[in-house]
């Protein structure tokens, strides 16, 4: 039986349908969860999709953070449920304190919509285990105005020491991008961080859009293994097994 995975729909979400479609391709039973829902309808994992929830007013993600569905997502995450935030969804998770750090205005001040390369730091996570190799460049789009990953130096050191950096911006050859490299690291993220996870390892966020690179028709399917990882891990969780290497995060 396909595993049920929820995609939260905030007013202003615009990648919810793409995400539902990618989940369908990956063999899941995707369902949309309206932002006023107070229950998650028995899903085995949740994705917070990209978009401009509540118009990104005040700060990207902050108004969405206080919506009724987020109370349910927070409770789900606290029990070890798998949660992935993509782009605006990552911003919501960061504002909610479910993943570390903050997303600042892009250093160049411009909204950026184009392809980038990222590479996974590790494969022993519920979000990356279906990727072919760590460090291999994956091409997928970004579309954001506030994507510059920020945390103070002490926290960045701790994230790296604990293996909580999931993805970094790299060049086409897989070399880690410098903070000043506006081609490979266009938003200027500190230490080229494109995605992180929480301490328990069950909540992750990234700025690029794997769901928009989930089939060859879209120009790249490099993002699809990230979706498949989540679906497979959710299926394991639903069957009462440990999701892939959740304990991988120390």
């Amino acid at each position: 039986m396909p595993v049920r995975i929820g995609v939260v729909v905030f007013p202003g979400s615009n990648c919810d349908r793409d995400t539902l479609h990618a989940l369908d391709l990956a063999g899941a039973e995707p369902i949309a969860l309206w932002h006023e829902h107070t229950s998650l309808d028995g899903v085995a994992a949740v994705i917070l999709p990209g978009g401009f929830a509540y118009g990104d007013y005040l700060r990207a993600g902050v108004i969405a953070r206080f919506s009724p569905v987020m109370r349910a997502v927070e409770a789900f995450a606290a029990e070890g449920g798998l949660v992935l935030g993509i782009c605006n969804g990552f911003q919501v998770l960061a504002e909610a304190g479910l993943v570390p750090g903050a997303l600042l205005r892009n250093r160049g001040l411009r909204f950026l919509g184009r392809d980038v390369h990222i590479a996974a730091e590790r494969l022993d996570t519920p979000f990356t285990h279906a990727l072919a190799a760590a460090g291999r460049p994956l091409r997928m789009p970004i579309a954001h105005g506030e994507g510059c990953y920020y945390a103070d130096d002490a926290r960045l050191d701790a994230l790296e020491a604990d293996g909580r950096v999931l993805f970094r911006y790299v060049d086409g050859a897989g070399e880690r991008a410098a903070e000043t490299d506006r081609v490979a690291n266009p938003n200027g993220s500190l230490r080229a961080i494109a995605g992180v996870r929480n301490a328990a390892g069950n909540v992750a966020g990234l700025m690029p859009h794997p769901e928009r690179a989930s089939e060859a028709l879209l120009g790249s399917d490099d993002g699809f293994p990230i979706i498949r990882s989540l679906v497979d891990s959710a299926a394991r969780a639903a069957a009462g097994q440990r999701p892939h290497e959740l304990a991988g995060a120390r």
Binding site: L58, V62, G101, A102, L104, R105, R107, Y150, A151
Partner: protein
């Protein structure tokens, strides 16, 4: 109950990248203005609170400033009373 008007000034914390501030600073040359530095761009939110007295009203503002208006990781805030409202 009485009405109390406040402003909450939210600014990027020291050391936080502020590309907007830098862009404003960069534009000053074009205006022929010299001697201005450390430009930081933030936001100001004005609001009216109904409460028993000013102290109680300030407590409400403190809570909403710290939980909603500012992200404590990256922003500082200052609360300013801007007078009672009739």
């Amino acid at each position: 109950m009485s009405s109390h008007r406040f402003a909450v000034n939210v600014t990027p914390k020291p050391g936080i990248l502020d590309p907007q501030g830098r862009a404003v600073e960069g534009s000053l040359n074009h205006l022929g203005i010299e001697g201005v530095r450390s430009v930081r761009v933030g936001r100001r939110v004005e609001l009216t609170v109904e409460a028993t007295d000013e102290a109680a009203a300030r407590d409400v503002v403190e809570k909403l400033a710290s939980e909603l208006l500012a992200n404590p990781l990256i922003e500082a805030y200052a609360i300013e009373a801007i007078g009672a409202v009739a």
